[in-house]
Assembly symmetry: C2
């Protein structure tokens, strides 16, 4: 057996909320006034919730059913190539219409906003995966959509914009001339590569300044409710692992920029770990933006202009400008509060790897397993290879589960630069 | 229900050979000598076979099982958008690792060649889908691979090359300086957009001239054995349609360039039609390369240099140079003998549509159903929309089935040109 798919009765119908189980964690108490101009009430409630399980509305389940549940694959060919005794499994989120697991929250947020009579959503995107997922979700729910895409990613992945346009959204490079914060950053440094933090400010500002009041902001990460929506991935992976006959995972690996894709796979496993199961949960980040390995644990905002609420999390500072690595999703200055708190408590183990070893792992994965993955997932794969080789050294049959969070078909310029040996080693 | 997937017992384990059922059709009797330097004996046998069902070797079933069987979807959102009483279904082949249904034959050919001790395969590609499928198949079976890609497509879809490179293959624009025929064409017209017929000549010539005798040629179309391998698509679609509770299809639609994707979906339905079921089977082609609607039915070769055997088929002449439409797969001068014969007998109804109406249909499909399709599938969609609107006019609940033969993620330049209104109307 190489693939496990759940049938419809086995599919989860609730989201898992780590806030209920994380020892000593208090959800934020946010001032509803400001939040309500950005988010529908249901999402604000989810943000502050301590309920362990939150029921998924039927309308969202309907939207999610296409191309889902995503399969869990055994990476038997990669195991052979590495000659490892480890059994490696991956949750393939690349098969969704938007090509990324980010659709879990994108479809949920679009649905809640549509129900709350919003007409338009704004968002930031770095790698373009969130922008794609949201543009797709808006087309499925009849919402307009504007995406601010970090300029360096916009230039590295020019066709992301065309995808969003095909779904009817518009995508502009950030910093842009359309917002005050964008113009200010451009005045200071006109050739800036842009950052997610500035793109978030632009998206939030656009939503707040819309005088008709029908524009809301849809974040692709950081917020608890985004982590919550993504947990379908890990819930399914746990159930699928059992279909393979595995009793438990020994190692769970995902890359963490803002933290949404990582949380999606890891949180349901983390619940097991908190309940006493022995397990390593590894978050992988770039050496160029080492938030969890080198950042400070303190209050900070997700955006440069401070339009989003302050949250306790690991951060490199909201004016940090990361190097132009191809994994745009790993260029953030901060990681979500829930992921940060879990890291702070030692429940997850952060690891930084560099771009070149990531692409090396991605190419050997493509040649063994056939899948061409996103640069973000390439970072995950670098850690997977490290752990598989460690298992070989230790002669132990470990079970490794990782997230293939998106395909790399919009990111082939990165692969091209890798083949041409043009990527700096250190990032 | 919006999606039907077969479980493992329901999956077909044989290929369907239309040559057994097509009235008055005689398979070619090919001189084995010349053919044996191009193909393994098993494939030559399949080319000339009149057996209705041909067993699929276990090794090929293994290779095929990943990301298969591909789902059949009900296009309920498209139906709503068109307000048609027709029920529209599509077989989604875009989910394979190579992103195209061409993997059916690519994996089969790679496996047979590996068994026959070949070490390297050469191929032509136009849109890049066959090149991708074969590069992926070679990586899965441990073969080297060289792909000659029509220059215009090579320029329109630069990242196809990077995909092939990621799987370890090399891809060069055709005409190239690496073969005599390539050099000759370049001498005559150095800025030629290239044609599939020249690319085939280059691929065949490279295989024939390899003095070590371990290089074979892997065609992506034309040959009976390619059609044969593709028929898994239609066999599955028939079974999946039944899972939706449909007794039969009224209209089956696929685009036909060389004819492989079309045959894959259509031939198993064609068997029903030959046996007496009332059904329209529509092949869609470009007005710029109107092979089945305006070509001659006569003997011709699939390549310019005449290195491939003469076959009776519809052709525009093997030196025909089509316009540079984005649907590279629909730029061929000829369509496969089996498809041609079925068209000649009136069993299938060819239709030519133009590029602009194709992209219009593709964009409305993306906004309703979420999928961004290849430019080839966009032509299919134009005919699907025509038939759905006709059903509305006639107030008839017709069942339409079509092939989504590949995703359009490498073809976004075409969408970009469409949005910029840069595409000529006539093609």
């Amino acid at each position: 057996m190489t693939k496990a798919v759940l049938n419809s009765e086995e599919r989860p119908r609730q989201w898992y909320n780590l806030a209920a189980d994380l020892p000593g964690y208090s959800p934020p108490s946010l001032s509803p006034g400001k939040m309500e101009s950005l988010f529908p009430a249901c999402l604000i409630e989810q943000e502050m919730s301590r309920e362990r399980w939150i029921r998924i509305p039927e309308g969202i389940l309907q939207l999610l059913c296409r191309r889902r549940p995503s399969p869990l694959y055994r990476a038997a060919e990669l195991e052979k190539a590495l000659r490892t005794p480890a059994r490696i499994y991956f949750k393939d989120e690349s098969c969704s219409a938007a090509g990324t697991g980010k659709s879990y929250s994108a479809l949920a947020q679009a649905w809640y906003n549509k129900e709350a009579a919003a007409q338009k959503l704004t968002a930031e995107t770095a790698s373009g995966q969130w922008g794609n997922a949201l543009a797709h979700a808006c087309s499925q729910t009849g919402l307009e959509c504007r995406v601010y895409m970090t300029r360096v990613s916009y230039d590295q992945k020019p066709y992301r914009k065309v995808m969003m346009q095909t779904w009817g959204a518009d995508c502009i490079p950030s910093p842009s001339g359309t917002t005050e914060i964008g113009r200010q950053v451009l005045r200071e440094k006109s050739d800036t590569p842009g950052t997610s933090a500035v793109a978030v400010s632009e998206a939030v500002d656009t939503a707040l300044k819309d005088s008709t009041g029908v524009t809301r902001y849809a974040p692709g990460s950081i917020m608890n409710f985004v982590m919550l929506h993504q947990t379908l991935s890990g819930q399914e992976a746990r159930a699928q692992l059992a279909l393979f006959g595995e009793k438990k995972a020994d190692i769970v690996i995902g890359c963490a920029g803002g933290g949404a894709s990582f949380a999606g796979l890891a949180f349901p496993f983390l619940a097991d770990k908190i309940a006493g199961t022995d397990m390593d949960i590894i978050s992988v980040e770039s050496r160029g933006a080492p938030v969890l390995t080198q950042g400070c644990y303190r209050n900070d905002t997700a955006d440069t202009a401070g339009l989003t609420p302050e949250r306790l999390m690991y951060t490199l500072g909201n004016n940090f400008i990361p190097p132009p690595i191809h994994a745009g999703g790993l260029r953030r200055h901060c990681t979500a509060p829930l992921v940060s708190e879990a890291a702070h408590q030692g429940l997850i183990t952060p690891r930084a790897v560099n771009q070149v070893e990531s692409f090396e792992a991605a190419v050997s994965f493509a040649r063994s397993e056939g899948f061409i993955v996103s640069p973000e997932t390439a970072y995950t794969l670098a850690a997977v290879v490290q752990e598989a080789l460690k298992a070989k050294e230790e002669e132990r049959e470990k079970v490794i589960v990782f997230a293939l969070s998106g395909h790399g078909l919009m990111d082939l310029k990165g692969y091209q630069s890798f083949f041409a040996a043009e990527l700096p080693e250190y990032q």
